[in-house]
Amino acid sequence: MPDKFEPKIIGFLCNWCAYAGGDVAGVIRAQYPPNMRPIRVMCSGMVHPDLVVEALKMGADGVIIMGCHIGQCHYQDGNSKAMARVEVVRVVLEDMGIEPERFAIVWVSSAEGKRFAKVITDFTDQIKTLGPNPLRKDFELNFKRV
Amino acid sequence: MQKEPVTLGKDKKSLFKDKVMELLPNGGNLNACFTCGACSSGCPSVGIDGMDPRKFLRMAALGMDDEILKSNWAWFCTMCQRCMYVCPMQIDIPQLIYHVRKNWPRENRPKGIRGSCDMALKHDTCSSMGVSIDDWKFVVEDLADEIRQKDKGFEELQAPIDKGGAYFFLNQNSKEPVLEPNEMAPLWKILHLAGADWTYASKGWAAENYCMFLGDDENWEKIVRIKAKAVDDLGCKVWVNTECGHELYAFRVGLKKFNIPHKFEIKSIIHLYARWIREGKLKVSSEWNKNLKIRFTVQDPCQIIRKSYGDPLAMDLRFVIKSVVGEENFIDMYPNKSNNYCCGGGSGFLQAGFPDSRRKAGKIKFDQIIATGADYCITPCHNCHSQITDLCENFRGHYNTVYLWTLICLSMGVLGQNERAYLGQDLITVGLS
């Protein structure tokens, strides 16, 4: 293990709010830890629970879905639908022996550059506290064997 | 307890409010009220006898003429126009009040005001305290003599009466010749040092007009005519109003209201104080207060500031005070200038004989002064002076109330020993050699 744990976090960012908010964070130079890998999706409600599970199974230390604030979805209520799936995902994760805290869903608007940075900072801190994904070790071993 | 309902919509009667509206330009906008209440939340007489300006107007609009015409509140309203100052519809509530006063049978109107009006009609001096021409001349000459003899540097001081062609025509509140003649000395000294070409007149010099407060148009006009004639008879260019509020308004507005032809200009003495200090004619200094650090605040008289010259004169007033007491020793009360609260004694309230109500109206003013922490409240108006002095005594304050002329002379080191009636112990000897 490296001296300092630098977690890898997968972020699913909705095209209309969160991704745009991430861009604004850049324009205003709001600094945050470089651990999140952004994946742009059309809507937070597009993210299949399998994707979240798969990412964590493959060794991601955290997964965060970011979408528009409730009531402001570009597609009426996609974010509410995404929200509704959260509990199911958490149950599955627990079954797999992964702390459900490794998965989060948050709302960031396209004006909230500063908040975007804070959300990522907080989530990264949270993951750092949790430590590496327990499945990661197995996975890394497998990887080496291959 | 539910009141008896007021009946509306039955038989059309002519309303008092409508009659008043016919007399006012744009009807005083009296109908335009949308009852927002801004007037009342800034009225010093709000709540006295459960009345406020909005309610008064509302009752008038609903035709509750009996109630409003009998209400003593017409004498509690000081017509200070603070309501109108912010009213989004610029409704002339003070004029409604004025006409209610007018509508009272003359003999029922407050004795204090009526007596002063009647007294002023007895002599051409127009003095509400009944000072005759001879008495007036005697007091002035006697005091002038005394100053010339006693006060160093004022050997040449003049206090002329009926000096034809003098530039300034000065008026004087009757309170001074009658009760405290020494208060005239600082004023004369100022005029002397400024090198002003001024005169008093034997007629029409009295700086008061209680007939206006009484709602007695006829006699208000009569007095203004006498005074205007006195100025023009002497051929003076400028009528100067001393530290008095309502007289400035009564004379200035009276000339217009009664369409009285005249040849002179009108100025407040505050204009002149400020000008003479700027021109270096009055060599004032705040040096005396550098270590004493005695703090002063000022009452902006409604009649002079809000109702006449507004913020520009209020700024002049502050310039004079700051020059005299030192910038750092002046503390403004809030609100101030054109938005200042009336002292609560204006427009005859002081003389109307409702002391408890009047003090209720004045409580805001008292609190304002106390909040400044000032040792002195400067009042360039006799009405304000009396009311604020009374408030101090009644509510047990610890400030003194003083005219501006006293402080100007103090700051120039020319204030005599017996010209300090309104100074406190802290200043009673300052500047005396």
Binding site: P34 | K12, Q90
Partner: protein, 1109 residues
Amino acid sequence: MIEFRVNKMAELLDVHRNTITNWIKSGKLKAAPSVAKRYIVSKEELTELFREEGIPAELIEKLKIANGIKSNISENFKDIKEFVEIKKKTLPKKPIGSVMVVGGGITGIQAGLDLADSGYYVHIVEKSSAVGGVMPKIDKTFPTDDCAMCIVSPKLVKCVRHFNINLLTLSEVVGVSGDVGNFTVKIKKNPRYIDINKCISCGICSQKCPKKVDDEFNEGLSRRKAAYIKFPQAVPLKYSIDGANCIYLTRNKCRACEKFCPTGAINFDEQEEILNYNVGAIILAPGLTTYDPSGLDFYNYKNMPDVVTNLEFERLLSASGPCFGHLKRPSDNKEPGKIAWIQCVGSRNINRCDNGYCSSVCCSVAIKQAITSSHHCHGENGCRTIFYNEIRAHGKELEKYYENARDMGIRFLKAMPHSIEPAKDDSGAIIRYMTEDGSIFNENFDMVVLSVGMEVSPEIRKISDIFKINVDKYGFAATESINPVESSRPGVFVAGTFTGPKAIPKSVIDASAAACEVAKILIEAKDTKTHEKIYPEELVADHAEPRTGVFICSCGINIADVIDVSELSDYAKKLPGVVYVENNLFTCSADTQALISGKIKEFNLNRIVVAACSPLTHEILFQETLKEAGINPYLIEMANIRNQNAWVHQNQPELATQKAKDQLCMAVTKVSKNYPLFTQSVPVHQKALVIGGGIAGMSAALSLADQRYDTFLIERDNRLGGNAWNLERTNKGEAVRPILEYFIENVENHPQIKVLKNARLKSFAGSVGNFVSEVESNGIVHTVDYGVCVIATGAGESIPDEYMFGEDRRVMTQLQFEREMKLNPTLSYKAKSIVFIQCVGSRDSKRPYCSRVCCAHSIKNAIKLKEANPLLDIFILHRDIRTFGLQEELYKKARDLGIIFIRYYLKNKPTVKREGNELYVNIFDPISQQPLRIYTDYIVLATAIEPDQNEELSQLLKYYVNSEGFINEAHPNLAPVELAVEGFFVAGMCNYPKLIDESILQAKAAASRASLILSKKDMQLDAIKSFVTEKCDGCALCVDVCPFKAIKFEEIGDNRDKHKIITVDNALCKGCGLCVATCPKGGIEVHGFTLEQLKSQVHAALNTTEALN
């Protein structure tokens, strides 16, 4: 049933045509009007009449028998040639097909987009350096509390990229000549001093600029540099130098920006330019300014830091404002506990300003600000207090918004304070106020917000002068109800707050309505000035074998300073499928585009990855490059290593480089899974259906037909006109009848409008561009196909059940009373007293909304009566007089005339009593604290307006209604005339109670939006759509989850192999992927975002073996 024309019937029976008409009028011939001046009568009726008149019965057989006939009337419009010729004469000759829009706020942008999308070239003139106007300054919009920036910014971006929009920033109009159809507009373009083509918006000029000035975007609450962007999301996102403050331009030294600019974009030699544009029409949307309260000494705005205006407060609340969304008060940067709002500052005021009108939006703004700032509220009573005189929550859903605010504990005090006084230590304020019962309170607040209104600035007045259009006494552009976007000068249209104070939805409606009017007069020149880009045919390449080219941008030093781009390039070369890697200084520059094109050909590339800035701003640019090189535009991926990496990890270069590698790997992996996508096109029925023949419906139909689209107008009643028949005058005082007659005549005679009366919609099928319905009218069923539909089904007066309505005939509804006034002209002399009661059935628990039009309606009638007879006593009993906007003048006039207004509360409603024959109303007057008994001759009830509960229609069309039955628009602020179902639009009272002019406006706006669909024969659909895979087993879980009803459940196969699967209607699908995430089997996917593609990105990010294979 038998259908006939009057003249044909007259000919047949050998009588004068008037005889037939008289028979119909008298009821002798019981015929009902059908379409196009035809009538329908039953055979029995006709036989009876013929027998009575002694006409041979066999003649009946000669009349067309209509019974049971199904007609397809779609192709059956009149010959329009003649009509077009007539129309042409009234239209400008050979108009120019381009338009000048003055003002780049939401109104100008919306108007510009509507026109550019429907075949006209648009110049937008904006005074400042970026478009957007006031909206970007606003934190949130009411009543949805949407982030204002989020909803406006896509429109701004679209505008700047639009092929047929010429955006002129830092520009102003200095002159205009010519006439409708052919104007010449002279524009002064002020220098930006930064070359817009070279600027990469890195912001280094601003960082290096030593000159700080007040930031007007933050209302002076913060400082910006002289080299600046207006706001971080500015469009165009290009820096500019403020010539008035730049040290070099004012004092001839410095030039720091020039020294450090990595692209050499600074150009101090730039000069002011004068440009002339020829346009066919002009839309003025210059907006308004807010009232400056500095002159109100009693509010102490100038002296007290914690007294701010509502616009300043927006900036304090905004995430992009000086406090980054964490509200702090200016005096000490502490979070304020108690905040007060003071309404009507600079509005409804003729003492301190001449703004006699109501600014219309400030009540809702204050409510919104109180709600959105109350997250910081700590539960203390009155910690959010709104001092008001009347709360004017008159827009849709705003009454509920207001009620909700009350429930949240926001305190509403009907008390206008006289003054704001400073509190101790120069922080916060003291407010003294008097409640209605006369009690006086002194209260401390930490902050005070002045709800300042809107006004016309001298600068805006100048625009009216330049264009020589008439304005009202306040400087608002003067218009008439019949066409509220038409100025006094032909060809010059006006929109937005320029015609009066209004909120965003009404401005957006104005914009589309103005666009509609322009399209009508420039119809001859449609598509003459617009351009369409021609691309080479796409290369047919073997997409299975990726040959990826990677272009890594240094962005000057923006990226390269943090990320090791050469290491990144080396890394890229090792990634699978990558055959070419290049590092550019500026990948977005024009020369790099040419270079990419060349490399594509040279290395036979079939996939491109650009590692640079954000796809949101630049993907379209690179897609263009691909298209020009003959590659499908969906074969590109961007790695956002600037905004979401270099800029936000400035102090961690190593980790940033590591992240950039992952981002690049993710993009390369994903692009290898990409496949060509094609936009689909569907043919459009260029016809419209309008449901409802009231003013709104007729206005929509005319607006569409005048743009040469065949339009069906169906009306349930046997005559057109709807509610307007019951109204006498508009609020502006114009007679309604001539307006109504104008509409009816034009609609009935328009060759491209087919009117069906007594009509009902019987069926509905299809999707946008291709709808088909059956309409039954007078027993005939017509088949109608259409591309768009405008719903304008109206609303009506509700029936009161209180105040002795129905018990005493002197108690009547507003419309009944208006009829009474008409029948009884001496009413005002005979009556002594009339009482109007407002909010009868509105704003209560049953109908928690404001019916909006009743205040002005009652006042209008009251004024008419009082003017006729000043001795008549009139009382208006109300809960808040809501004469919003310029209607406030009516309220003022009514008061001046001596009409008495008395407020009541829901808990203390007036009561109506009768003693003998005497009718009276008891009410408590809160101001005089006095019970009143008002004897009266009439009691007029301003009853609630109720939407038409059209179950049949809503079942059929499946539109959404709110809880009170008003049809919901797709988005209250930015899609105020669209329905959620694409191709459907809404106008008039069925949406919410509206005034006549507002209904006309909304109808025109709906027509404008609808014509965007109708303007082209084929409609291009986005390529990002969902598609069904072979894994679908027909479980149908996805059907309900689709917000756009794009997924249908169908049975396929023959008897032996019958099974159900789903199908996607591409015209309805918006590609959101909610279905994908719902499907347990991978039976449905979205192009461009397939599970495989997304998973490949996950794997790449985690550097798993799968990713590297």
